[in-house]
Structures are given as structure tokens and as C-alpha cells.
Point group: C2
Chain length 311, copies 2
């Protein structure tokens, strides 16, 4: 079966790994968020694409859950000592990738082509596509002002509540080569357990991608990023509370309004268990354990997702 | 006294440190070679300015004699693994500096201003000025073809003999701010024991610098980079043999024709000692031990140079 996953980093990347472990080589295409991308120290950094690359290749630091295992931090120490900007944590092995990517971008190679080359170097069994090769940047409006995504997320430790999210450049952005084809050829579409506003939202902000999903004839399954009404990591819970009005499965489902057929939720969020009202009865709820504490759990969740996608 | 030193890296940087140790803060200005500069992995690298900075600040690896003490190499390992160019050895701490400098250059800050900022971060007692803020690049013509300096020096391990050296951009290059003023205010000028063609040559190729030295009213003292007719490191000996015809003090003096009043040479190269003819009697020869195997030797050589400069 041909599957397309829309994903950020973190848990999204881990579910993607579970799916890649389960599917045959070539069956899986991941469309990664680029709204988090930034230029820092003259380097083009694509945090979500890198999390996907590192997770799928096994290079990721499994404890820290971002960046590379065995990472060292001497570049950044030196940058700070010489008076450069060192607020964004870049490890030495990570910087190596950013240098290679940035140089290729400057030579005019598209992000999607570079991403394919990098994935090829580590022999991935699936394709990673950026949502777009065009410049698309997430900005958040908060009571303290409007910030570029990483300025808020890393620079301010995402401490400010978010009132609104905007995707600068989305209107003009085209899907990267291969994205629409993958969606059209897909037997199912999955939204990984990533932040609806910060990871899935920027992908769907590329209107041709949203349109392709709206017009699909196959099932689309989202996996909630919440466990017990809270994000496993990051601000998804706080953002759903403030921007959607709550963190029950209904609010998660509403954040993907008109796009999904089923929502996979954790047992701790199951209606009844916590007496949660269901107001979107057209969306099927699939209840399972969504915490991915090891590779086995990733594969088990992947199996549930695949079953829901093929239902 | 106000002293200006023209220097490459290596031995030139070590003599400069000896002079800085001896002179009062503010008395010493080093004009550094930028003909070796290169762009690699999108980074602007200034090897000679960095050798000066690292040597004068004590950050240099005293055994390797280039790069930083305690250096690690994870960026380059990663670059190679991702398929990037890894022929030019860049350590992690070194990359930190290159990122800071390259970002500032892209923002329009001049190399001289950046160099001053970096020197300020480590509290140097002297000024480091690049010969020029303009693009000036050394190229070498060899029997195997003409190469950009680092392509030949590092990429090909400087194995090809050199027939000629050209300084691309020198004609249009202006001295960096402060260089002419330092030369005009100097009580003496010193050519450090650096390669005449590859380190001193590119500085003097900036015509306003050469003219200022030709028109000086103070003494100019060169220190030979040779010991026993051979370079302590690098290809200076081979280049003098092939391009000037020999490696005796006369040939070294000829390479600085019409510019120097005195040449400091090692005892092993002293005329008489090896029965070497002297054909440039207008240039005073100063015989001492020029090998700088420790800080004490750097200071002793600096004392001899200062004495010759004040004669």
C-alpha cells in the first residue's frame, strides 16, 4: 500500500519510523513541515526534516529526542566565545549537515532535492519530502508580540501563550515536487501525532496540498498528539486549550476539520473514560495506547494507524 | 616604539607573539596575509589571520602549530558522511569562528572590522589588520596547471613545483583601514619569517602598501624563513630554489629587493659558515638563532629583530 504521512519532528517522526518498519520500502512518503525552518549563523536549518532524517536513520539521540546521538557542542561554545549568536542549540554533527545543505541551497539546489540526497546517504526505506521548496515560515502572535517560530519556541522557551499562528509565504508556496503525486497515488493519508498548529498546519497551509487532501477518495487518519489532554512534549495542549477551547478529542478533531475520517487517541483521552462529550460523530475515534516509549510501541501504534487507514 | 609587522601564519605568527610580549600594548600592528583566504562549505576562512589570532591569544595548538588546542573534528566527519566537501581541515572550534566571521561578512561588515572585534574578544595587546578588505587571492602556476592557493597547498599537498605566483585582485585592492596609517606612523617595519611569495608577497601586492614601504624613512628588517637553506615548514625553500635560483641569504634578500635594510638569518645560513657569497652588500645581515622552539626563543628573536630595526 502507498501511504503519505504529514509530520513534524518528535512523536511524528517516531510514528513515521514505526510505519517505515512495517511497510515495504518505497511504500511510505513523509511530507515534512518546513514552517520551523530558520537561518541561524548563516546556516539553513530544517529542524523537522532533520528530526525525520535522524529518527528514520537511527542517528537520533533517543534520550534527548532531538539532534544526534554522540553529539558534541564545540562549535556553539566557540561561536559564543567569539560573540556570535548561540541561542539556537546546534551540535557539531548537526552543523555538518547544515553546512552541506546550506551550501547546496546557495548553489541553487532545491530543498527537496537536497533532502532526497541526504536520505539517500543513509539509505532510508521511505521518501522524505518537504511540504514546499518555497520559503514558508510560521510566526506566532502572543500577548508579548509576534515572533518568528524559533525565536518564540527556542529563544523564549515557548513561554508566551499563542493567540494566533500565521504561515508567512504559504499563499505563494507550491508543493515540493512529488508531494501532489504522492497524495494522488496514496491509498491512505496519515497526520502524525504532531502539533496541529505548528507542524501539520504549515503543511496544510500550502493550498494545493490541502486541496489534494480535501479531494482525496481515500481515508485520512490523524493521530492525536495529546495523552491525557496534554502534549507528550511541546505546547500542543496549551495551544488547543487557548485557541480551540479545549483538549478533548473533539477539539483535536476540530483542528483537522473537514480533513479526517478517523482520529487515533490515547486510552487516557477516550470518551467515557473521562466522560468526554463527542460532538463530531462523523469522525471515527480509534482508541489505543499512543505513547511511543520504544521501537515496539512505535510499531504497535503504526499497526493501529494502518488498520484505521485501511478500514 | 611603533612597529608594523607583515606576516603570514606559522613562524610569522610566533615572531609576532615574541614582539607583542616585548613591546608595550598598542605599539605593535600586524598586517596579515589574506591571499590564502578561501570559501569552503560556504564559510569564509582566513588561515593566516586566524593563525595570528590563535597564536597571539594562546589558543593555538602549539604541537600541531595550526588550529586550536583541544580541537575536535566532528563537523568535518559529519560533512563527509553527508557527502559534503571535506578536503580542507576545519576543526569544530575553528568552525565556530568561521561561522561568526562569515555571518558578519554577509551582513556587510568589513574583514578588518571583524578581525578587530575577534581580537578584542581575546584581549590582544596588538592590532591585527588584514592587508586588504578587498578580495585578493593567491594562485600558483605549476607544471600540473594553475591552482587556487589552498587547492594546491592543502588539496594537492603542495606537491607541485611552483613556476609563478599571481595575486588575483591585488591591482584593484586597497589597503584595509589603518594599514597605511600604521606604516606612516611606524618607527620600523618588519617582514616576519614567512614565505616571501605566499605570505609577504600578497601583502606587498597591494600597491599602496608596497609604495608606503618603499617611501618609508624608517628601517625595514626582514627575517628569513629559512634555516640551513630550508623552510622550517612549508615550501619556501623549494620555491626560492626554483623561482629565485637559490636559498642562500642573498636569494632571500633579493626576494625583498629594494624594500629591506637588514635581513635576519639563522647561524646555519651565515656567509662564511657555509662559504656563501654575498652579492647584496647594501643589505645588512644579522646572524642569530632563528628557530623558535618555545616562547623564550620567540622573545630572543624578537629582541634581535627590534635591535636591528632600531639600529
Amino acid at each position: 500500500m502507498k501511504l503519505v504521512v504529514l509530520s513534524g519532528g518528535g512523536g511524528g517522526a517516531r510514528l513515521t519510523r514505526g510505519l517505515a518498519d512495517t511497510l515495504e520500502p518505497g511504500e511510505l512518503t513523509v511530507v515534512g513541515n518546513v514552517g520551523d525552518d530558520l537561518e541561524v549563523l548563516g546556516l539553513h536549518v530544517s529542524p523537522d526534516l532533520d528530526s525525520l532524517l535522524y529518527t528514520l536513520s537511527g542517528l537520533i539521540d533517543e534520550d534527548r529526542r532531538w539532534g544526534r546521538a554522540g553529539e558534541t557542542w564545540n562549535v556553539l561554545e566557540s561561536v559564543g566565545a567569539w560573540g556570535g549568536e548561540d541561542w539556537f542549540r546546534l551540535g557539531d554533527l548537526d552543523v555538518g549537515l547544515h553546512l552541506v545543505r546550506t551550501q547546496a541551497l546557495r548553489e541553487g539546489v532545491a530543498l527537496s532535492e537536497i533532502t532526497a540526497r541526504l536520505a539517500g546517504r543513509v539509505g532510508l526505506r521511505c521518501s522524505i519530502l518537504p511540504a514546499t521548496d518555497d520559503r514558508l515560515r510560521t510566526r506566532v502572535a502572543t500577548p508579548a508580540g509576534t515572533f518568528a517560530f524559533q525565536e518564540w519556541y527556542v529563544g523564549r522557551g515557548h513561554r508566551d501563550e499563542v493567540d494566533a499562528v500565521e504561515y508567512v509565504g504559504a499563499r505563494e508556496a507550491s508543493p515540493a515536487p512529488g508531494v501532489l503525486h504522492a497524495l494522488q497515488a496514496a491509498d491512505a493519508v496519515v497526520f502524525a501525532p504532531s502539533n496541529p498548529y505548528l507542524s501539520i498546519g504549515p503543511i496544510l497551509a500550502v493550498s494545493a496540498i490541502r486541496r489534494a487532501i480535501e479531494r482525496r477518495s481515500v481515508r485520512c487518519v490523524a493521530v492525536s498528539p495529546l495523552v491525557g489532554g496534554q502534549a507528550v512534549s511541546g505546547p500542543a495542549g496549551r495551544m488547543l486549550s487557548r485557541m480551540a477551547g479545549g483538549t478533548t478529542p473533539d477539539f483535536v478533531a476540530q483542528s483537522h476539520k473537514d480533513l479526517i475520517d478517523a482520529l487515533v487517541i490515547d486510552r487516557s483521552d477516550a470518551p467515557g473514560a473521562a466522560d468526554v462529550p463527542v460532538t463530531a460523530p462523523e469522525i471515527e475515534l480509534v482508541v489505543t495506547s499512543t505513547l511511543m516509549h520504544d521501537r515496539g510501541a512505535e510499531r504497535r501504534l503504526a499497526d493501529v494507524v494502518l488498520e484505521a487507514a485501511c478500514a
